[in-house]
């Protein structure tokens, strides 16, 4: 086995730009994903702020209706396909997963690199659409609007189609890695729950993404060749598209949230100095959610004209998503019980996650309630709900993970006070932005409205103000993280005194991850008999 020279890390050995661009090292690929994802998070965020500025008054402020429709489409497409889906698995997971298993790399390093470049290709295509007239279909691409609109939709459909392959490649790779590359002594019962979560996510990615790919390909075919599958003017069925689309996109919600839950599973025990409460139930709950996720897509279509019986069944099955989700939330709280809680930045984000995710989850139950959804469907209530889940859940989970593994990524610590300050700012800004949107939804404001009746003005203004507080919080984070990257204090191999394998290696780890052969002798959360 080839060893990297003593004292080098994956960041500086091997050297040179080329060595990064063609690297097969999962850590470098993870970091390249991280950089891309953060870049697109910025772009998607700018679109979000533009949307909020336009909605500051009922009348036109800075965008025409067409521009506004493009802005929310780009915000959605970028945030969903280029940020939230790859954010935790492909960026953080790529780096952490093999380390947690004591492996030297993922099972198929070349495929891993391919997945990154496919992602880049998809991003380039998505961005290119802006120069060919833009896309105004919304990220949901509903037919027949998407088959008729005269914009660069075909290219965007191809972009999403291509992005799917990157997701499938990553999923396959992680599944094989978990099966084949675990360290000696690491049975399934010794896997960190983050690994369980990424594994379940991978299963969904591999099973559901092809359906989305084919569906979008069919829409593209319909646009180019006039094949009548979805457009009733060509003899197609537009509601069929909704079935296909949500068959992927509902499970995609769990592609987005399960990895975040995985991060929280790591953070809470470490900062409570206690084992995770109910390890088995936690792992089972992850798979419970992943399984039920495939049988609930119809809850997006309660008003589409779907028969009453079908509506009833989808409402019933959707209720069962809440059971394993509840188990997870209760177990996190129980993990804190009689612990010794340290309020470092990752833990602050875990608290923020819990606060926001619980509200997102409970309003999800409201929306799953058949009668209730008839009023709420396609109103701002839905917008608020999924931002509480996606931003509050996934993004806060990501931020918890980013801060938790930052010392491992770069071997540096960040300014703890500023980190907490920015977390609190983002949390407050988030609630000021999105809580009013629940009320707007109850009052009846439809989503995707460029102008609205003046009755809705005050709440919209509050929401816009909140969005700028969020932006402020993130700029602060950008500041202290950049500072840490260059000038941060050395972190040491295990600054949080965690028990999973990645902390046994140096920070940052060397090219081959471990300079010794790791063996697992204890569970991932056995903080037994520890002194404070």
């Amino acid at each position: 086995m080839h060893h990297s020279p003593e004292g080098t890390t994956y960041l500086n050995y091997p050297k040179g730009l080329m060595s990064w661009l063609v690297t097969l090292d999962h850590k470098r690929i993870g970091m390249m994903y991280l950089a891309s994802v953060l870049f697109f998070f910025f772009v998607g965020g700018v679109f979000a702020l533009t949307i909020r500025l336009e909605l500051f008054t009922p009348e036109q402020n800075l965008l025409t209706a067409d521009q506004y429709n493009q802005a929310f489409t780009y915000h959605g497409v970028i945030m969903v396909f280029l940020v939230i889906i790859p954010m935790i698995p492909a960026a953080i997971g790529n780096f952490v997963l093999p380390l947690m298993l004591g492996a030297k790399d993922v099972a198929f390093p070349r495929m891993n690199l391919a997945s990154y470049y496919i992602f880049v290709a998809a991003s380039v295509m998505a961005v290119a659409t802006m120069f060919f007239g833009g896309v105004d279909t919304g990220w949901t691409f509903y037919t027949p609007y998407s088959t008729q609109t005269q914009t660069a939709t075909t290219l965007m459909l191809c972009a999403a189609f291509v992005a799917g392959f990157s997701s499938i490649f990553t999923g396959l790779n992680f599944m094989a890695t978990v099966h084949k590359l675990r360290a000696p002594g690491q049975g399934w019962g010794q896997l960190p729950l983050f690994v369980w979560a990424i594994y379940a996510t991978s299963v969904i990615q591999v099973l559901a993404t092809p359906v989305l790919g084919l569906t979008l390909a069919l829409v593209a075919l319909e646009r180019v060749a006039g094949v009548g599958i979805f457009d009733p003017a060509l003899g197609g069925d537009p509601v069929l598209f909704q079935h296909f689309f949500w068959f992927y996109s509902h499970p995609a919600v769990y592609i987005m949230i399960l990895p975040a839950m995985g991060v929280i599973n790591e953070v809470i025990p470490v900062f409570s100095r206690k084992p995770i409460f109910g390890y088995k139930a936690m792992a089972a709950a992850i798979f419970g959610i992943a399984l039920v996720a495939f049988a609930v897509w119809g809850h997006h279509m309660f008003t589409s004209g779907q028969t009453a019986l079908v509506n009833m069944l989808f409402s019933l099955i959707t209720m069962f998503v809440a059971v394993p989700t509840g188990i997870k939330v209760f177990s996190w709280i129980a993990t804190m019980y009689k612990g010794s809680i340290h309020f470092d930045a990752p833990m602050i984000y875990a608290f923020a996650f819990l606060f926001v995710f619980v509200i997102g989850g409970l309003t999800g139950v409201v929306l799953a309630t058949l009668g209730a959804d008839i009023h709420f469907h396609d109103t701002y209530y839905v917008v608020a709900h999924f931002h509480y889940v996606m931003v509050g859940g996934t993004l806060f989970g990501f931020m918890a993970g980013l801060h938790y593994w930052w010392p491992k990524f770069f071997g540096k610590m960040f300014n703890s006070f500023l980190a907490k300050l920015s977390a609190v700012l983002i949390l407050i800004g988030f609630n000021v932005t999105f809580f009013p949107q629940f009320i707007l939804g109850i009052q009846g404001m439809p989503r995707r409205y460029w102008s609205y009746i003046p009755e809705f003005t005050a709440l919209n203004q509050l929401s816009t103000i909140g969005s700028f507080v969020i932006a402020l919080g993130f700029f602060l984070a950008l500041g202290y993280l950049t500072h840490s990257f260059f000038f941060g204090k050395k972190a040491g191999s295990n600054p949080w005194r965690a028990l999973t394998l990645e902390w046994e290696s140096e920070s940052p780890p060397p090219l081959e991850n471990f300079r010794f052969d790791p063996v697992v002798t204890h569970g991932p959360y056995e903080f037994k008999g520890e002194r404070v």
């Binding site: 509903y142 088995k280 008003t303 009453a308 409402s315 069962f320 139950v365 309630t369 009746i453 005050a458």
Partner: protein, 356 residues
């Protein structure tokens, strides 16, 4: 001071049932939020890391885990059942005597077609305390829209090529704001209007084409109009739409189409079998198709039969051919033909028809 608005007005009995469900759901949300947030805060304070404080090793507790699996499951089932009950009241249980209005959405506006054949745009006129059933579709070649009346807690997508139905019975006279809630392009957010619920006398006047005063807005919706009035310093002129009275009733028009389009050559209206089945008394009845499917002859079935007869062949007519009519009949013509077929119910109608 900023005006955040209030809880929306409930203008139908079903909306009141919806509100009860909603308050219950809010209660559940608050309760479970507290169940999580209170311990979270208490533990964070009580078990904060400090010198001399040691964590206790606890890995799981089966009884507790079963408890917090079972109790939420039961509560979720209650929520589900209640949601289903409200859904039935809100969407399905249209009384049979409901007045029918055809709704046609196009980018970007609404046309309402009444039983007596007249039409209005963007304002749906209905009498108070009378059930109204909406049969909705989008214009040919158009995209999906959705009809949403917050005061009625009512929403249904309006899809080109099929009929979606829903119903309401408004209790409060006045103008009730409605919106399009399915994204449909540049005009999506201006594709709005009002359900104008009229007192009985006004309704009668309006029906006969007389002028009436436009009733006030109920709940949200009036602000833009009031702002306009204020800025112009006078009562802005909002004219009442009186529908064209020269139109024939839907049924009469359907009867005429039945003749003019040649349907009569194959379909009688008095029960005698021709090349195709008679239209007498078929609406709402079950039909067996040649492939064994049993369907109810509703609006969607009739529409499908006219546009694509090969896709649903009536058992016993496998060898006869019905020519397809896609695109040859407008949406309004389809509405009329369906209304006509629907009117041919039972023997009295048949008698009248044969006498003529």
């Amino acid at each position: 001071m900023m005006d955040f608005g209030g809880y929306p007005i409930a203008a139908t009995a079903a909306a009141e049932s919806w509100d009860q469900l909603h308050w219950f759901l809010i209660g559940v949300c608050v309760f479970f939020s507290l169940v999580v947030f209170v311990p979270m805060v208490v533990f964070a304070i009580k078990y904060r890391a400090r010198p001399g404080h040691k964590p206790t090793y606890i890995s799981h507790n089966n009884a507790l885990e079963i408890f917090w699996t079972a109790v939420p499951t039961v509560i979720l089932m209650v929520i589900f059942a209640w949601g289903w009950i409200v859904y039935k009241e809100l969407v399905i249980n249209a009384p049979p005597n409901a007045m029918e209005v055809k709704v046609m959405a196009r980018s970007w506006g609404w046309t309402f077609q009444y039983e007596d054949g007249r039409t209005t745009n963007d304002l749906l006129f209905v009498p108070v305390n009378k059930p109204v059933r909406l049969v909705m579709t989008a214009a040919e070649g158009d995209v999906i829209h959705s009809f949403f009346v917050p005061n009625f807690r009512l929403k249904k997508d309006v899809v080109p090529g099929i009929y979606n139905t829903t119903w309401f019975e408004a209790r409060i006279p006045g103008r009730h704001q409605f919106f399009c809630t399915e994204y449909c392009g540049a005009g999506h957010s201006i594709m709005i209007g009002a359900v104008v619920v009229l007192e009985e006398e006004d309704w009668q006047l309006w029906r006969w084409g007389k002028a009436i005063d436009m009733p006030d807005w109920v709940g949200i919706g009036g602000k833009r109009e009031r702002m306009l009035t204020a800025s112009q310093g006078r009562e802005a002129a909002f004219q009442v739409q009186t529908a064209h009275l020269d139109q024939k009733s839907l049924i009469d028009r359907g009867q005429e189409l039945h003749r003019r389009q040649g349907c009569v050559a194959c379909h009688s209206s008095d029960g005698t079998m021709g090349i195709g089945p008679s239209f007498l008394g078929i609406f709402g009845e079950e039909v067996e198709l040649s492939d064994g499917r049993i369907l109810v002859r509703d609006e969607n079935y009739i529409r499908g039969q006219i546009e694509n007869p090969r896709a649903q062949i009536v058992r016993g007519f496998e060898h006869a051919v019905m020519p397809p009519y896609p695109g040859r009949l407008s949406e309004l013509d389809l509405n009329a033909l369906i209304a006509y077929i629907k009117s041919l119910q039972g023997s009295t109608t048949a008698q009248r028809m044969t006498e003529e």
